[in-house]
Symmetry: C2
Subunit: 184 residues, 2 copies
C-alpha cells in the first residue's frame, strides 16, 4: 500500500501519559484529511510462567469499563527507559515477583486506529517473590491459573482485555509447548 | 475490587469518531485524580470463514504505524446502529462479501487503559461476493489464508494488530474445530 504524507502535526492536549495530537495528512491520490491520535512511548506486557506452568494474572478495577478485568502484567514505557527494564518493574509492581529468564517474543499494535502504541511482549520464567510498592491508584489481586485454565477463561470470555488476549494469541504455541497443552 | 466514583466529566475535544474526555475521579480510599479518555460508541470485528475454511483478511495501510497491517474486517459502531448491522456493512465494505450465517462469539475491551471501547466479535460463514464502495481513505487488499496459515502468520508476528490477535484468541477453539486444526 502507498504511504500517506504528514502535512502538519500539533499537540492538542498533553496528559502525564501521552499526547493527544492533530495531524493533517495527504493521501496517495492527493486528497487531504485530519487525523487525531493518542501518541505514547510504547508499552510492555509480560507473560509470567512459574515453575509449575502456572501463569500469573492480575485482577484490577478498570475505571473506563466500570468493572474488574483479569489481565497480564503490563504498563507504559516512559521515555528513555529500556523495554526490558520496564517489564521487570511492571512484573515486580503488579505481580510482586522477579524472573531469572526473560525473552522478547513479539510485538503488537495496541489499538492502531487511534494510537501509535506498540506493545512489546516478554515471556518471563524462573519466577521468585519480590517486593515493590504498587502505584497508589492500582490495586491488584493475583491469580495463578494453568494454561489450560487460562484457555477456558478465554473461551468463556472471562478474560476480555484486548491486549491480554492479543498476548495469548502471540504466546499460545509456546505455552502449548512449555506450560501444558492439555485441553479442558 | 471497589469501584471508583466519577466526580466530573468534560469533553476536551470532539472528533468525528470519538470524544476525548477529562474526568475527575475519587478512589475508594478517598484520594482523587484525573483521567483522560477516548470514549467511542463501540466497535465490531468479524471473523469471516468461507466454505473452504479460508479466513478473509484485509491488508491496509495504517497511518499511525507508517506501515501495512493485516487485519480482520472491523469498524466503529455509529450511535444508534445495531452491532450486527454494522458488522454486515464492514464485511461488505472491507471484505466485499456478505454472509448467510452470523454468530456473536464474544467481546473484548479494545485498549482499556485509555478507551471505554468494547469490540463485539462476530463469526460470519456462508460467504458470497458483494459489492460496496469503500471509504475514500481506505484501500484494502484481500487475503484468504487457511486457519493453519493464519496461525503461522501469528507465530511469525506478521499479524501484529492487537485487535485482530485478540479476536483470534477468542475464536481459536472454534476455528480449530471448524476450519481445520492441522498445525504447521
Amino acid at each position: 500500500m502507498k504511504k500517506w504524507t504528514t502535512l502538519s502535526r500539533e499537540v492538542v492536549f498533553r496528559t502525564p501519559w501521552y499526547t493527544f495530537d492533530h495531524d493533517r495528512f495527504r493521501l496517495p491520490d492527493g486528497g487531504e484529511g485530519d487525523y487525531w491520535a493518542v501518541r505514547t512511548g510504547g508499552a510492555v506486557m509480560i507473560v509470567p510462567v512459574d515453575d509449575e506452568g502456572r501463569i500469573v494474572l492480575v485482577r484490577q478495577y478498570r475505571y473506563l469499563l466500570g468493572e474488574d478485568s483479569v489481565e497480564l502484567p503490563a504498563g507504559g514505557l516512559p521515555e528513555g527507559t529500556a523495554p526490558l527494564e520496564q517489564a521487570k518493574r511492571e512484573l515486580a509492581e503488579e505481580a510482586r515477583c522477579g524472573a531469572s529468564r526473560w525473552e522478547e517474543i513479539g510485538r503488537f499494535a495496541s489499538w492502531n486506529g487511534v494510537t501509535n502504541e506498540i506493545c512489546r511482549l516478554f515471556l518471563a520464567t524462573g519466577l521468585a517473590p519480590a517486593d515493590a510498592a504498587p502505584d497508589r491508584t492500582e490495586e491488584f489481586e493475583l491469580l495463578r491459573p494453568t494454561w489450560p485454565e487460562v484457555r477456558r477463561m478465554i473461551e468463556a470470555n472471562e478474560i476480555f482485555d484486548g491486549m491480554t488476549l492479543a498476548a495469548f494469541a502471540l504466546a499460545g504455541r509456546r505455552l502449548d509447548e512449555t506450560a501444558g497443552g492439555g485441553g479442558a
